[in-house]
Structure formats: C-alpha cells, structure tokens
C-alpha cells in the first residue's frame, strides 16, 4: 500500500516467490503460536531453509510481523469480506459476511482459528507498530459491520432505532465466541450454533409484534 521509504529495494522474481512462501508459512504458524511466539528458527525449519535465508527478506522480526499481518489481512479479505460483498446490500450482506466467517473457520483457512481474533488479544497489550496495524484491521472490521447495519436500517430491513455500534458488538461477539469455542474444542457444531444465532438476530426483525416467534430447532 504505502511506498517503502525512499529506496524501495527491488526484488528478483524467485525472491518474490520465496517471500510469498515465507509469509504464507508465517501466517499459518502465527495462528498457532501467536505473532510473538512465531520464531525465525521454526519458520526456517518449516520451510526447509536457513535462518539467514529467511532474514534476507526482512529487516527485523518486527518487519516480518508487520508483513505477516498484512498477508493475513489479504487472505481474510479474499476469503471472508469479498464473498460477502457479492450478496445483496443490507441484511443479506450482513448474513453473508457472518456465514463467510464461520465458513473460513470450518475450512480451516487459518489452522489456529481466526488470525485477527488471536492477534487482537495477543497484541492488544503490546503497544507498537504491530499492534497499530492489527488495530487498524480490527477497526476496519468493526466499521464494516456497522456500515452493513446502517445500510440495512436505511433499506428498512432493520428497525430504525437499531444502533449500528451495538449490533456490531453483538455480531462481532458471536463470531469471536464461536471462534474461541471452535479452536478450544475442535467442534464444528458451535459454528452451526453461531449461524443460527446470527439468523435469529437478523432474521425477522423488520416485522414486529404479531407474528409467531420463529421456531428454532433445539436438540437436547
């Protein structure tokens, strides 16, 4: 996005390929061990190359972390956000977004669960450039949900008094809680529960007061 300093050192084609491979592994490993727990040695071992070889592509570990966050963001955008944008604006988009989130967990796009859920909680307490970048993504994530809600309210698919910030917190929370339980117990059924919760919350909100409540199948 932003140009690197004054002299952006140019890369060779094979170097670019390697750099991509490194970041791919870095994203994968850091969803399991965290951005701090990610080590150059493990990364090099995972890739079958030397520590020095890895280091040739990054100025420091922090530089590697920043690039890793960026790479994870690109994956998240293409796997979760872009699919959601193909749905109709308003509630359908909101639903598509949540479904895409649950789906990317179920497909194990990141082996250790949602990258940004882990990164946000891990880096939230460590102020610095990496935390700022994570916060930037997290903030954009929240703003996106709020925007979806505002659009849905504007289309009268949600009640006019629906607070976008409040509903965004609810939905973000449901995604977070589902991710946490999914990672902890490795049980996809919590994702179904999450999908049901989101549907119930967004489903029949525009018509109020006189229809029979939605019947939600409740095993147990």
């Amino acid at each position: 996005m932003a140009e690197r300093a004054v002299h952006a050192r140019q890369r060779r084609a094979d170097g670019e390929r390697t750099r991509t491979a490194i970041l791919d592994a870095a994203v994968r490993l850091s969803t399991v061990d965290g951005l701090e727990g990610l080590s150059i040695g493990n990364l090099a071992k995972d890739l079958g190359m030397s520590k020095g070889g890895v280091y040739a592509h990054f100025d420091s570990k922090q530089d590697l972390q920043l690039a890793t966050v960026e790479a994870a963001g690109a994956i998240f955008r293409s796997e979760v956000i872009e699919p959601a944008l193909t749905a109709d604006p308003g509630v359908p988009q909101l639903l598509a977004f949540c479904d895409a989130y649950f789906d990317h967990l179920e497909r194990r796009v990141f082996p250790g669960g949602c990258f940004f859920a882990g990164a946000a909680l891990e880096m939230g307490t460590h102020r610095g450039p990496v935390q700022e970048k994570v916060a930037e993504f997290h903030s954009g994530f929240i703003q996106l949900i709020r925007e979806f809600v505002r659009t849905a309210v504007g289309l009268q698919q949600l009640p006019p008094d629906e607070d976008p910030a409040a509903l965004a917190l609810e939905l973000n929370g449901t995604l977070l809680a589902a991710d946490t339980s999914f990672v902890m117990y490795d049980d996809p059924s919590v994702l179904d529960l999450g999908r049901r919760v989101v549907r119930r919350r967004l489903g029949r909100t525009e018509a109020r007061g006189n229809e029979t409540p939605a019947k939600i199948s409740n095993p147990r």
Copy 2:
C-alpha cells in the same frame, strides 16, 4: 482443590507467602504476555528474586502455568462469579454476572484484560494439561451462563423457546468482544456499550410486542 499426588510436600509459612506472591505476579504478567510468554526470568525480576528461588516452588514451567491458571480462576470466581450469585436468580443474576464481568475489566483486576479470554485463545491450539485446565474453566463459564438462562426461562423471565446454548453464545460473545476492544483501544466506553447491549437483550423480553422501544442514546 485436588490433593497433590501421594506425598504433598509440606510448606513453611514464609514459603506459602512467597508462593502466593509468585502466583499473583504470574497471573498479572501472563495476562499481558500470555501463558507461554510468561518466563521464569521475567517473573523473578518482577519479584526481585532469583530464578532458582522461583523454581523452588514449582516442578516445571508447566506446573507454574497450571498453578497460575488455578490462581486466576480463584480471582475470577471471587471478582465476577460470587458477586453475581448474590443477585436474585434468573435474569437479575444474568445481568449481575455480565455487569460484574464488565466491572472487573474496568477495575483492571487483570492488567491485560480478561485472563481466560486470552488464555483460551492462546492455549486452544496447544493441546496438553494446561489447555485442558483452561478448557475446564471455559466450559464451566459457559455452563454457568446456560444455567442462569435455564433458570430465567423456568421463572418465565425469558421466552420458553429461548435456547440456553444460543443465548449463552450471544452473551459470552458480547463479553468477549467488549474485552477485546477494551484491551486494544484502552477505551472504557465500549464497556458501557456492552452493558447496554446486555440490558437490551435481557431487558424487555418477557413482555413482547406492544411497548415502545427503549431509547438508546447514540453519540456516534
């Protein structure tokens, strides 16, 4: 709680005090650096004692982690769960529980945010005794919310078709999302938002359909 092995080695009074102080610091540090990021050296430095001194109280780092989780659990129980139990059963207890959670964040009982939110996401990917202990607490946490919901349904304070597992996921999610944002932006206003969300969700659910919606001030 459980007796230690066959020979529970007896401790001296001063040793018990030191052990408590170590665990206090360990809980504090691990909410900032994580349970894996917690190191004996940092812990000793924080306490002004030697690594060997710390090690006299624990068999291994894993033993220290297990004791740290236990200590954090005791703090969480006395700071969040017990206050909630003094409220009337049903929705009031559910509300008191969520409020106590937001309060313990605001009072910064743990300097790095909710201990178990961080621990669950960090240890979820690292199977082993520590993960099992964290999962045990997490599971008890969820079960407790579900029990509160069941009680509230039994008392007809919530609709009879309210799914305890689904509502527990919603509430747990709201707490989680508030914790994440609070830690990331160090902004207490998200806790107020969380309190409002919980109140709206639990507030006017028993009477349905004909009262005017609650006016929620929304200063962007």
